[in-house]
């Protein structure tokens, strides 16, 4: 019934708007701003028509032939739009109010912009004010907790990339979102982008917003728009910050005496006589005076300093024992590591064009010694209106970044990994001040400080340039054509030195130099036609476009060993004598796309959007080269309805929207369709002629192709509600969504009897994600506006489930093996991934108890002090078949909570971030609690392990018997911990100089701030940091990464 009324109304409206022209007058008037100053250049139009004018220099206007039923619209950039019904008036004077929300009203969408209130899809938009003054160089990392539906885990190395996933894990393949900067796809990482250059970031989360990017939209799209100048004034901004970092090591490791006791305890647990090269073999460990020679005491002829020899052949580095113990973590941590950032920008423009130029410099020292990151960024954006119908522009940037030092992270072969293993008895230096190490001690590690020092000249320098040149022409009014040619050039140069470390047990035999150079070149050419027209209450907007992209990558590298001198300046490829190795390769991807979008808006009340994109990609064989990705969404602005007029009048809003669409994912490697043979000196060469230093070229089967692979497709549904109450001081957005990925590409494991060629990806997987994104904001003021406050809460939740991986229900994907142990796995019915292992039901306290239990791994493990693993499959035998899924690395939800308080010139901002319900596999425990590879151990191992003489009652043991038994170290619930945490990410106090003082100083804004970041973390996790960076199938495995640091920053922002 209502519908019919609407239709009738619609028809009537058409008739009225077309023919209802009568009683016309000429209107005049003046437009003023809030300070009663005339506002020249204000657009005055008769709503629903093309007639209108612009105010003159005195703010006056005049429009002939205006009907009395007409509505006049007054608009000026930065001012609130005003509409006035003409009625009987002949003169209408208007005062325009400052637009307070300004830029927030327009958000960037694919190939265009959109007024926020007409958006029907799910987009998180973050503006520059939320991005600056962050503690990370990477602007995307600063989105953490600010954009709902986006899960971000920050890397803690300087200049590190963040791990970003949007709405869960859509695929077992690449889950990275697509980044677009000013219309140009960016592949070279976000850490090279200066946050100060960014105006806004839009995160396209659902199908309707992202389907315009078709085959690459399935993981979500992050659109970055950079700052432009304004037509009227020149603004010079300067900002600077200086910060220092610190880090407190939470691990209590054994000191020299304790480690000796630990050896004795371990021997006792193993039922053998203690025997140590260093600590002797008596009833108790004896701390020696020397570790080289092993276990020697003062007076031992072997300790005669005259025997000391640092030469290659007769190396003998006499080293005293550190009797109190070396704190290896303190040795490598660079406390008070400094960060400096300065930024200068000049933006402005004139009648015809605008410009924005930005220069930024960032220097960040790593919290691990001898590491640093330098970044220089430059951006020049210009937009010029050549004439009334043609506009051109060229926003582009150049970024140079240099990583210096040893950035090894998240692995055992890193300074932190070595520090985990290094015994306390080993000092940093030997008796002559050279590096001391593990040689002669039987320890398996490398002096981590020496390693950092020797790697201090290593670097990776990246030069990235991204930008575009565009021309935008108005063909007829409402019809615009835009041609954009974008480019992204990236080069990476790496230089790695591995210098000899004669003091190490497993030393490098020669000095070695590795250099590499890579270059990526991408161009994209997008042509779009945009038609926008309002017919009375109907507004349509049609977009049609094509885009072609070519991305090529080329790299080569070389290495040499054995140099006359290991001087950094001498070591070049041409001065290396041996091990002449070279490599080089390239690849290319091309795509062609056609796309279109239709927006329809009736009375700003009923909204509809339809999108379709057709993509062709070189990654797929001819049969499945093309894919089509449609999406549709609709919105209903309920608060515009007459029956809710009370709501609208109070300034409140309510919008319901929903959408559905299909997107693709093409991240499967570039040449999946081809079966290839390759020649590789390491894998298929052979010295058939018996030569000892050369080999002959041979081929091997490299890949098996699947020409029938097609796109992964992800169907996404989204229902959202936007609500604003209490005069829009309290706003909330809730989106409930699901994503269903089918035809998921999976390289099905092939048995070894087929050989080792890489299997092709085939379309067999199926994965589902469901979740919700919630934003709540409350902003208000008190005390006559002297006190302003706002609270913001962002909550994201997703649930991921693998429906199937392949046609075999038992097919699974497992994570990487860390020292033979695999912690993660995904199979049909689980999340991608979950932790997989045994369930510990306690520790056997007596032999009788152990004997009475089912045989564990053949029965030899059934001993008091060992784990009692659960018989999961009920076969009364404990073995690998009892492994099961023992926790998920996926959080139940993540949340960001933001508080802004401003009192006069002071403002205080606090930002808290929480991750709840995710588990972490604490792999570091295996090193420091169980001592693999003879590593140093935690005090827990000595004091709280089963059988420890310090433990009053074995039933209280936190750890099993420490006896190096591998079965105790099998992945199990003993290593899985709750990774939930709440962290005060930033706390910032800002003082803004009052206007009157500013005027005296001839500046427009000057503010100072102090900021503390990561000041506290509430967590039960026992590792270094619950914010664990690990991607894809290895998600949630903590393997000795750089920790999050506390940081104190002082900064100032100055605008002229």
């Amino acid at each position: 019934m209502q519908k019919r009324i609407k239709v009738i109304l619609l028809i009537v409206f058409f008739i009225i708007s077309t023919f209802g022209v009568y009683a016309q007058v000429t209107l005049t008037g003046k437009v003023l701003d809030g300070n009663n100053q005339p506002l020249p250049g204000t657009t005055v139009i008769v709503k629903g028509t093309t007639s209108g004018t612009i105010t003159d220099t005195n703010g006056n206007y005049s429009i002939p032939n205006v009907s009395r039923t007409s509505v006049l619209q007054f608009s000026f950039i930065g001012m609130k739009l005003q509409e006035i019904v003409v009625g009987d008036q002949k003169t209408i004077n208007v005062t325009l109010e400052q637009e307070t929300v300004g830029i927030d009203d327009v958000i960037v969408v694919g190939y265009g912009t959109k007024v926020k209130k007409s958006v029907t899809s799910s987009i998180s938009s973050v503006t520059s004010k939320d991005l600056v003054e962050g503690v990370t160089a990477n602007p995307i990392a600063r989105l953490q907790g600010k954009a709902s539906g986006v899960t971000i885990v920050n890397s803690h190395i300087p200049g590190g990339e963040a791990d970003v996933t949007i709405r869960g894990m859509g695929s077992i393949n690449n889950n990275n979102p697509l980044y677009i900067i000013d219309g140009v796809p960016s592949n070279n990482g976000m850490s090279s982008i200066n946050a100060e250059e960014i105006e806004s970031i839009s995160v396209l989360k659902d199908a309707t917003s992202a389907a315009i990017y078709g085959a690459r939209g399935a993981n979500g799209v992050i659109l970055i728009t950079t700052k432009r100048g304004s037509h009227d004034k020149t603004k010079v901004s300067f900002s600077a910050r200086y910060g220092v970092k610190s880090f407190n090591n939470p691990f209590n490791m054994l000191n020299t005496q304790q480690y000796g006791e630990m050896l004795w305890l371990t021997a006792k647990n193993q039922g053998v006589e203690p025997n140590s090269d260093l600590y002797g073999s008596g009833t108790t460990p004896v701390i020696p005076d020397y570790i080289v020679p092993a276990g020697a005491m003062e007076g031992d002829p072997g300790t005669n300093p005259d025997l000391y020899n640092y030469s290659t052949d007769e190396f003998y580095n006499i080293t005293k024992a550190n009797k109190t113990g070396t704190d290896w973590y303190s040795a490598i941590i660079n406390n008070l590591a400094a960060t400096t950032e300065t930024n200068l920008s000049i933006a402005g423009g004139g009648e015809k064009g605008t410009y924005a130029v930005n220069f930024g410099y960032l220097n960040e020292e790593g919290v691990v010694k001898y590491t640093s990151y330098d970044r220089y960024t430059m951006r020049a954006n210009s937009d010029t209106r050549l004439n009334r119908w043609l506009k051109i522009g060229e926003p582009s940037s150049l970024s140079y970044a240099k990583y210096k030092g040893d950035f090894s992270d998240n692995q055992e072969w890193s300074a932190i990994g070595y520090a985990n293993r290094m015994w306390a008895i080993i000092p940093i230096y030997d008796i002559k001040g050279n590096w001391a190490g593990t040689k002669g001690t039987g320890a398996n590690s490398i002096n981590p400080l020496a390693e950092l020092y020797r790697h201090k000249n290593n670097f990776s320098q990246n030069i990235n340039s991204l930008g575009n040149a565009y021309a935008e022409a108005q063909i007829i009014k409402g019809l615009n054509f835009k041609s954009l040619f974008g480019f992204e050039l990236g080069t990476a140069n790496t230089r790695m030195l591995d210098l000899r470390d004669p003091e190490s047990q497993q030393e490098r035999s020669t000095d070695r130099l590795d250099q590499g150079s890579q270059q990526s070149v991408q161009w994209n050419w997008a042509n779009t036609l945009n038609y926008s027209k309002t017919f009375g209450s109907h507004t349509i907007n049609i977009l049609a476009g094509t885009e072609a992209i070519e991305n090529t990558w080329r790299g080569f590298g070389a290495s040499r060993s054995t140099f006359y001198s290991n001087d950094n300046n001498y070591m070049e490829l041409s001065s290396g004598e041996l091990d002449i190795n070279n490599w080089g390769s390239s690849n290319a991807v091309t795509t062609v796309s056609y796309f279109g979008r239709l927006n329809y808006d009736y009375l700003s009340k009923y909204l509809l959007e339809v999108t379709v994109r057709k993509d062709g990609s070189s990654k797929f064989g001819q049969n499945y080269r093309w894919g089509t990705f449609p999406a549709v969404s609709a919105g209903w602005v309920v608060s515009e309805e007459a029956f809710l007029s009370g709501m609208k009048d109070k300034g409140n809003t309510l919008k319901l929207r929903g959408g559905y669409g299909i997107m693709g994912n093409d991240q499967i490697g570039n040449y999946n369709g081809y079966s290839t043979f390759a020649a590789d000196v390491s894998r298929s060469y052979y010295a058939i002629d018996g030569s000892y230093n050369s080999s002959q070229s041979g081929f091997y089967a490299n890949t098996i192709g699947n020409p029938n692979a097609k796109w992964e497709s992800t169907a996404t549904g989204d229902i959202g509600i936007d609500i604003g109450v209490l005069k829009n001081t309290l706003t909330a957005t809730l989106d409930v969504w699901n994503r269903h990925t089918t035809d998921m590409l999976f390289a099905k494991a092939i048995p070894f009897v087929v050989g080792n060629a890489n299997p092709p990806a085939v379309n067999i997987g199926d994965m589902k994600n469901t979740g919700f994104d919630l934003n709540i904001n409350y902003a208000n003021k008190a005390m006559n506006g002297d006190f302003k406050y706002s609270l913001g809460l962002v909550v994201s939740h997703y649930k991921n489930k693998v429906e199937s991986i392949s046609d075999s229900p038992t097919e699974f994907i497992e994570g990487a093996a860390f020292r033979d142990m695999v912690y993660t796995r995904a199979t049909a019915g689980t999340a991608y991934p979950e932790f997989y292992g045994l369930i510990v039901d306690g520790i056997f306290n007596t032999q009788a108890e152990a004997d009475a239990y089912f045989p564990e791994y053949g029965g030899g493990y059934n001993l008091p002090g060992h784990f009692k693993y659960r018989d999961v499959n009920g076969d009364q035998v404990i073995d690998d078949d009892d492994r099961t899924f023992i926790g998920s690395p996926h959080p139940k939800f993540t949340a960001g909570f933001n508080v802004d308080l401003t009192y006069k010139a002071f403002s205080l901002n606090a930002f808290l971030y929480a991750s709840k319900g995710n588990k972490i596999a604490n792999y570091t425990k295996r090193w420091i609690d169980y001592g693999i590879l003879g590593s140093n151990l935690s005090t827990d191992a000595l004091y709280n392990s089963w059988g420890s003489p310090y433990l009053g009652n074995n039933a209280d043991a936190a750890l099993p018997m420490i006896d190096n038994d591998e079965i105790s170290q099998f992945p199990s619930t003993a290593f899985i911990e709750d990774g939930s945490y709440l962290r005060l990410k930033t706390l910032q106090l800002t003082y803004t100089l009052p206007k009157r003082i500013c005027e005296k100083l001839a500046v427009s804004t000057l503010k100072f701030y102090v900021q503390g970041s990561n000041l506290f973390t509430i967590t039960n996790y026992t590792g270094w940091d619950p914010e664990v960076v690990s991607r894809g199938i290895d998600k949630g495995v903590d393997t000795a990464q750089w920790p999050t640091t506390k940081q104190f920053t002082f900064g100032l922002n100055l605008d002229f």
Partner: protein
């Protein structure tokens, strides 16, 4: 006004047509740096594929880093799993070997998986050569194809033989198999190994220009070995006689000639696995990569890792001889003195009185004796973890300090070198022939052949008796290089073996001594059917001072199970219905 409309419109049309017209060719991107099978179907391409198949003989081809696996020298399955050697290193290193050594390995064991992986990869490469060769149009020259086929079938048989020794129940994959994943492993594969080797034997030349390619004699020797494994004495006999009489191969004058760089390719080698270092391969993947851990630590100038594969006390004891200079074949073998528990600054006097076979000190590095040209072996300071791995270090596979150009200069595992491993040398032919003779009642021939080996063993002794008992630094040592390092005695059997039992003992012991630390002992124990008593006696004896064999979970060998290793579970899972697990696992 006109321009305003027309100009963009034309541009627009142009742009659309341009992108459209070039789209299909624009979207054609072919892989770089690789070729397709059709392109390889030429003589040159087939030859290159064949080199790729040869490359898999060193069993390190699966990744450029080499997988942590046993190589063709089988130091783990053939050596550490036998009574010859301990794993060495630290208990926490390469723990997958711990469970193999103690016979507690499960079907998850990574060494089993990697062995399976590398061997079948090589087999697949071998079959690819034949498959691609068949694609050539017009067909390639028949002489060429039969020469290629003979080499391919040799490689295929060699790798299946490797798998057969370790896993016994294996699928045999040939180029005619359409789907290798359905081939069952419950079929007797000896006939297939024999068939491939017969073809190779009949079609390979008696000599090859490239030393890496198998000759007719190599194929014939492997065929004889396959017969020996099946106790087909009468089939083996003529093959072995033919090799002895006609191959031109002979024993090298000195025992160590088989293990030094100077005689890398020698007349005793029946077949060699080639190794090259510093040839441009990452981490020297074409070297004898499985040698990565096989050397002492702290040896001056070697920068070596990791001290794996340490000779057992049991093996050292076996080198003692009786008053007649013959191995002690009856009664208990006495314990030979060692330096367990002593630091290099403690005094230790090595036993230079007890008579020992001179091969002992060519195979085993002992404290106080010269170690190649590295100086005197300094006891526990050259051993990674003496309490765990015992007092001895191995010598085979090590190169001399002076031969550094044969050692890789890359990476951490600088012990990797260009030593070539000889799976079969002429000494094998002689002792196998002795075994055949004994088993067929010809005790006189058996005795003669064993004596040939013992006579050669007497030609070389380790010189250099150390008269310093505290080993601080090399320079201060008092070593008399004109005096043998120990009391070396090795004599021939003066009369024919008395009976078959004695002959077996004598021949088997001779094989153990001659081929000690060459990765063959365990497979021999299994084929002789004596693995269970020998291994359990060894465990009982050596666990006395080597805790890793005892402790809380003492090693034990279960007959009818531990003769073969478990088939990797992941492969059984992937090939349900085709693969069956070995008995007992």
């Amino acid at each position: 006004m006109k321009n305003k409309i027309i100009f963009p419109f034309i541009t627009l049309t142009l742009l659309f047509t341009l992108t459209w017209s070039c789209k299909e060719s624009f979207l054609e991107q072919v892989p770089t740096g690789t070729v397709s099978n059709v392109v390889l179907a030429t003589e040159k391409g087939v030859n290159s594929l064949l080199i790729g198949a040869y490359a898999s003989l060193d069993e390190t081809t699966v990744s450029p880093w080499g997988v942590q696996a046993d190589g063709p020298d089988n130091w783990v399955f053939g050596g550490v799993c036998s009574d010859d050697a301990y794993k060495g290193m630290n208990p926490t290193n390469e723990t997958a070997i711990n469970s193999l050594e103690n016979f507690t390995a499960t079907s998850q064991n990574s060494y089993c998986l990697n062995k399976w992986n590398v061997c079948y990869d090589g087999i697949s490469r071998a079959n690819d050569v034949l498959k691609v060769m068949a694609l050539s149009n017009p067909p390639l020259d028949a002489k060429f194809t039969s020469s290629i086929r003979a080499q391919v079938l040799f490689i295929r048989a060699f790798l299946h033989f490797e798998l057969k020794k370790v896993f016994n129940n294996i699928p045999y994959i040939t180029d005619e198999v359409v789907d290798p994943t359905v081939v069952k492993n419950n079929v007797d594969t000896w006939p297939m190994i024999e068939a491939d080797l017969k073809y190779a034997m009949e079609n390979l030349p008696a000599t090859q220009t490239d030393v890496g390619r198998p000759t007719k004699w190599a194929a014939q020797a492997f065929l004889a070995k396959a017969y020996l494994f099946q106790k087909k004495w009468n089939e083996a006999k003529p093959l072995l006689d033919d090799i002895i009489a006609n191959s031109g191969k002979s024993l090298m004058p000195k025992y160590w000639d088989n293990f030094d760089i100077e005689h890398r390719h020698n007349d005793e080698a029946i077949f060699e696995i080639q190794a090259s270092v510093n040839d441009g391969a990452a981490n020297s993947a074409n070297a004898n990569y499985s040698n990565w851990g096989i050397n002492p630590k702290n040896v001056d100038g070697t920068k070596s890792c990791c001290g794996a594969y340490q000779p057992s006390q049991n093996l050292v004891n076996a080198f003692q001889v009786d008053v007649n200079g013959l191995p002690i074949l009856t009664g208990s073998v006495p314990q030979f003195k060692n330096d367990m528990g002593l630091s290099f600054s403690d005094a230790f006097v090595q036993d230079t009185v007890t008579p020992v076979d001179p091969r002992l000190d060519l195979i085993v590095g002992r404290r106080g004796l010269p170690y190649l040209d590295y100086g005197v072996m300094r006891g526990s300071s050259w051993v990674t973890n003496q309490a765990y791995g015992g007092p001895y270090v191995g010598k085979k596979g090590m190169i001399q300090k002076s031969e550094s150009e044969y050692r890789t200069t890359t990476g951490w595992a600088s012990s990797i070198n260009a030593h070539i491993y000889k799976p079969i040398r002429f000494a094998h032919i002689l002792l196998w022939r002795a075994e055949v003779a004994a088993e067929t009642g010809d005790l006189a021939t058996a005795t003669t052949l064993v004596n040939m080996i013992r006579t050669r063993a007497d030609q070389q002794k380790l010189m250099g008796r150390c008269r310093t008992f505290i080993l601080l630094d090399q320079e201060g040592l008092n070593v008399d290089y004109d005096v043998p390092a120990a009391n070396y005695v090795v004599k021939t059997y003066s009369s024919n073996f008395a009976d078959i039992d004695f002959a077996r003992k004598a021949i088997r012991t001779e094989m153990r001594l001659e081929f000690a630390m060459e990765g063959q002992r365990f497979f021999d124990l299994v084929r002789w059917g004596i693995a269970e008593p020998v291994m359990n006696a060894y465990f009982a004896h050596d666990r006395e001072f080597r805790y890793a064999l005892g402790g809380a979970t003492p090693a034990i060998f279960i007959a009818s199970k531990h003769e073969y290793f478990p088939i990797p579970q992941t492969q059984i899972d992937l090939q349900k219905g085709a693969l069956e697990q070995n008995q007992g696992y």
